[in-house]
């Protein structure tokens, strides 16, 4: 059937960025299955931050999807993934989660809680269901029966099905856990998964084997919250190295100190191919803010700027900001990132440097026409006669000396 296949493709493209076929999904369905921890209590605020950070998709329960549908409207909103089942694993103390203490469970249970039609009616771009392997043969068989039913419904409706294989239970040991996960990944695909949400196996090689065996996009899940943001980011980096198409992270994002930043950082790993070191070193983007009234005209800013760029004091004309003093006081001229230089450049040699936020010159493209120098309303784009290239404020590579040294606080750095 052609139409449902197209439906799946269209909806998968809402989850996975069509440019790089990767996705950063955020799981916010914890209140459905575990104790109301801080990420559940502050769900509204967490969701807003996650969306602001630029997540590609949000995995939520039916109730949350209905209550927060207003946040998911619009072309640039994340795709909606509906959690179609419920289970008590975190309350069983086997899932590695330690947050579920109110009412512990003794017996493992999982039930379906929504149908594919419900997800479609809500405008979801996919559904997610668990596939547990290792608890008992009976449990697995019943679980797979549900998965197969969902797969059939999703095929009919053109709705992507993301299966989440989890190896858990008495039959899972340290020796067979990785192989079980790899096997379960393929089994889930054979049953009908269009993508997988699956735990990291612990090393790049085995996870790469899993990805290869799966033959569908593999999204790595984050599991329990990592100790530090770096740990979480390194997990993502390893997963991507192994060939994962992205992640479905929950607590590592929703319980982060700054969920929006965490999403942005992970997004840079996934969509900009940056390394963890690059992401964490990145101090910007910056902006300078001035308070002209505080400026005494001492010109220390010009001196320090010139020293930073030339290695010597005294060449104030080479400073990339200017102080103009007259009878009415002192005025600071600095790069306000008005982007007029970018607009005027016919060689498209200028762009905003994403990590710091300053103007960046592609020297190979620049033909030295000086149009950028002429158009700058602040007159702070200099021109190097020696190199025949313009010179721009570069925020001193992330530590603007003008802001650092201004004794009156007239120049401040905003991040």
């Amino acid at each position: 059937m052609v139409v449902p296949a197209v439906g799946k493709k269209v909806r998968l493209n809402r989850i996975f960025n069509p440019q790089d076929q990767r996705a950063l999904c955020v799981a916010a369905d914890h209140g459905w299955m575990t104790d109301p921890t801080d990420n559940v209590i502050n769900l509204s605020s967490v969701l807003k931050q996650v969306i602001a950070g630029g997540a590609d998709a949000l995995l939520v329960s039916f109730g949350t999807a209905v209550r927060y549908s207003h946040l998911l409207k619009g072309r640039h909103s994340p795709a909606l993934l509906l959690r179609a089942d419920w289970m008590n694993l975190p309350r069983l103390g086997m899932g590695g989660a330690s947050d579920s203490n109110i009412l512990p469970a003794q017996k493992f249970k999982q039930v379906t809680a929504a149908k594919a039609e419900d997800a479609l009616r809500l405008g979801a771009s996919g559904i997610t269901i668990y596939y547990f392997i290792g608890y008992s043969d009976e449990f697995e068989a019943r679980n797979l029966e549900d998965c197969a039913r969902f797969a059939s419904d999703c095929r009919r409706l053109g709705l992507p099905l993301i299966i989440e294989p989890i190896a858990t239970g008495a039959m899972v040991t340290g020796t067979n856990a990785t192989e079980l996960l790899i096997a379960s990944a393929r089994i889930a695909v054979e049953i009908g998964a269009d993508a997988l949400k699956i735990p990291y196996t612990g090393d790049v090689d085995s996870f790469a084997r899993l990805v290869k065996a799966a033959e569908v996009p593999v999204l790595m899940l984050g599991g329990a919250r990592s100790e530090t943001p770096r740990d979480a980011l390194e997990l993502v980096e390893e997963g991507l190295m192994a060939g994962a198409a992205g992640v479905v992270f929950g607590r590592n994002i929703t319980r982060a100190k700054d969920p929006e930043k965490m999403v942005r950082d992970i997004s840079q790993l996934i969509h900009s191919n940056k390394s963890v070191d690059e992401v964490l070193k990145q101090p910007g983007p910056f902006r300078l803010k001035t308070n002209q009234k505080l400026c005494t005209g001492c010109r220390i800013c010009e001196m320090q700027c010139a020293f930073f760029h030339n290695g010597a004091y005294g060449q104030l004309l080479t400073a990339r900001l200017k102080i103009q003093s007259n009878g009415n006081g002192n005025k600071i001229f600095f790069c306000t990132l008005c982007k007029k230089c970018i607009e005027v450049c016919e060689q498209t040699a200028l762009q905003i440097k994403p990590d710091i936020g300053c103007i960046e010159l592609d020297k190979d493209k620049c033909n030295g026409c000086k149009k950028c120098v002429e158009i700058c309303p602040m007159q702070v784009v200099l021109f190097s006669e020696a190199a025949q290239k313009p010179l721009f404020c570069d925020f001193c590579n992330g530590l603007p000396q003008c802001a650092k040294w201004c004794p009156e606080g007239a120049i401040k750095l905003l991040t």
Partner: protein
């Protein structure tokens, strides 16, 4: 909320002036019959017919009560349990049972405005999983039809202790919100836990009250109403109404 049908129907039993409600639940008669402690209230129900914003009834009660409570809002009980036989019923149950008795799609033909079901909590995993599956199904059916769904939380299972009672109500409420229910009815818990719930439970939380004192407690703690039972003394009902709709 993005469901107009639900919004309209909720407004039928939440007073527009103060957004509060006072509900009487008569549906337990289907489980315990006309028990002695309820008989008096049942006989004198006419006296307080105008005091309630809505009545929780079994499907069969709607016919009989619709004359007595002409113009009232009815909330249909979708399920049945023998839980209430634990106290003083002539034949105490050996095992807790819960069964669906009304299909949510039939609600409109009864003339009901909303539906209500139990959440029996703290029992073994089998019962809990079945409850979750059942309520998830009803939630979706009600969403489709625009019928508000109330869930009546009973944390009475063997896993519930004095220590975890309040926290269990919070956990159950959180799960029910995620399931997509529209209104919760909770038993009396500490004021502190009610406040904790109100921080993140964004659907109305009604208190299950039997007396004036219980009702005052819930209203003082910013709950938008109470749900009374036939155990409530008829004499107290006008005063409870005053407490709810000050």
């Amino acid at each position: 909320m993005s469901n107009i049908g639900k919004e309209f129907r909720l407004a039928e039993f939440f007073d527009r002036a103060d957004n509060r409600t006072i509900i009487l639940d008569t549906s337990s008669l289907a489980s315990v019959g006309l028990a002695q402690d309820m008989a008096k209230s049942w006989e004198r129900l006419d006296e307080v017919a105008g005091q309630f914003d809505a009545l929780i009834v079994s499907a069969a009660q709607i016919n009989r009560l619709s004359e007595k409570f002409n113009g009232s809002t009815f909330i249909a009980r979708l399920d049945w349990t023998n839980l209430f036989r634990m106290d003083s019923f002539v034949l105490p149950p050996t095992e807790i049972k819960h069964i669906p008795i009304v299909d949510p799609d039939d609600i409109f033909s009864f003339g009901a405005t909303a539906a209500v079901c139990y959440l029996l909590f703290g029992y073994d995993e089998e019962i809990e999983a079945k409850m979750i599956e059942y309520i998830s199904g009803i939630t979706r059916a009600c969403y489709k039809s625009g019928i508000p769904l109330l869930v009546d939380i009973y944390p009475n299972g063997p896993k519930i202790t004095r220590v975890n009672f309040d926290a269990s109500v919070v956990l159950a409420s959180s799960m029910m919100q995620e399931a997509g229910v529209d209104v919760l009815i909770v038993p009396p818990i500490s004021a502190e836990k009610i406040k904790e719930m109100q921080r993140f439970i964004k659907i109305p939380i009604l208190g299950r009250a039997e007396t004036k004192k219980d009702s005052g407690f819930f209203i003082d703690n910013n709950c938008p109403g109470v749900c009374l039972s036939l155990k409530t003394s008829i004499e107290e009902i006008p005063d409870i109404r005053k407490i709810v709709h000050k």
